[in-house]
Amino acid sequence: MSGLLRLLARYRRATILTTALVLSFLLMTLQVRHESAVVTLTRQTLLFLASPFIQITAVSLQGVADIWHDYVDLRGLREENKRLQREAATLKGRLDHLEEQALETQRLERLLGMRQASQAEFLTARVVGKDATNWFKTILLDRGSLEGVRRNQPALAPDGLVGRVVEVTPTSARVQLLTDPVSAVGGLIQRTRVTGIVSGNLGAGTRVRYLPLMANVVVGDEVVTSGMGGVFPKGIPIGRITAVERRSGALFQEATLQPAVDMSRLEEVLILTASETRPGPEASGSLESGTGRRP
């Protein structure tokens, strides 16, 4: 035993490196086949520790941005005419503020309209942070399990599908965007009712895979959720086909998709917390049979 310890101490540099690498590798292995309780708990603890700071930073940043915009407005106008321009700056500042409020109201009204058009229960959440790496596409929301957010609940925007909740703490939730390389959403070409799998890709945009080779898919086709898999209700707009690839010898054709929602500009999302949904008129062709059910 002491001989082993002496050996480890002698090669402690290599021992520590090997231990660190094996530990990391083991952690990843635990997550590949099934959810490990240890890993889930660790992730939730880390997120729980960091999310208050991220939320405070997001709110503070918004406050600083408002002050900065007011300052820039005032300073720019003062150069032209001190008194009149100061008044104009004040008015402009107010106008900006009102416009911002109007835009926010508009967004919330659209969300509300979407909420009213459906029989489902929604929860509005604010986006407070994004993924800590460039490799994955997730967002952090300011609502958590205390307000009814659960894993696998779909996240929507007025224009369509955003993704699904993958991690929840009492006060925050992480949503995996449909552009994430690990995401997979059952999609349906609205015009021809052909199904495929919509998934993100590392640096290669969002793709629709496993489309039958002979299926009629053309640029401009709208894609909505197929409702298969039980996570996403049927008929939620996902995006529009921008290119179709048919490789010789391939069993399936693939298509590139432009998501309906601009993921880089998300400020609020709706979390579908319960029951069936009948999303907006864009997806009306597929709504009659919509029987989405949460897992």
Partner: protein, 160 residues
């Protein structure tokens, strides 16, 4: 090591909230990797390996990826950077830029290899062109700016 906790929180807040508005084509510099490089210059390889593991785990916890992904590359990069810093460290901006670029590219390559191993094959060329290379360039450029600030410059130049 009292600075580590504020540094980890600062990186988390910057990476999640501040940097998305400065992203170029959706790519942000990897501040966690820069932190690994910084601590590696000041520590022994053993400590740098453990700190790289810790920083990577923290980053994984704030990301949608599997836990351990960045921890693996973080501990390896920490070890390599600490082991080689005597030989490779320079205060020449261009040389420092190339070092950071190389380190970031290697870290990206390791991450890509692990993702391919655990989650299935991914197209190499798009990942290299649109993710690994831009991230390495942006990280190296931002790293050069940060490390050129007097406090960080002093920290980097100090005894390894």
């Amino acid at each position: 090591m009292t600075w580590l906790l504020p540094a980890l929180l600062g990186c988390a807040m910057a990476q999640a909230v501040l940097l998305p508005s400065l992203s170029l084509g959706g790519i942000r510099p990897d501040l966690f990797l820069l932190l690994v490089f910084l601590v590696s210059r000041r520590c022994t390889p053993e400590v740098a390996t453990l700190l790289g593991l810790l920083i990577g785990l923290w980053q994984d916890g704030l990301s949608g990826g599997p836990l351990g992904l960045r921890a693996f590359s973080g501990s390896l990069m920490g070890f390599l950077a600490a082991r080689l810093s005597h030989h490779l460290y320079t205060d020449q901006p261009l040389a420092l830029f190339w070092l950071l670029l190389g380190g970031s590219a290697i870290s990206g390559g390791i991450t890509f290899a692990l993702l391919t191993f655990f989650l299935g094959p991914r197209p190499v060329l798009p990942a290299l062109l649109w993710l690994i290379a831009p991230e390495a360039l942006y990280t190296a450029a931002v790293g050069l700016l940060i490390f050129w600030l007097p406090p960080f410059r002093a920290a980097l130049a100090g005894p390894a």
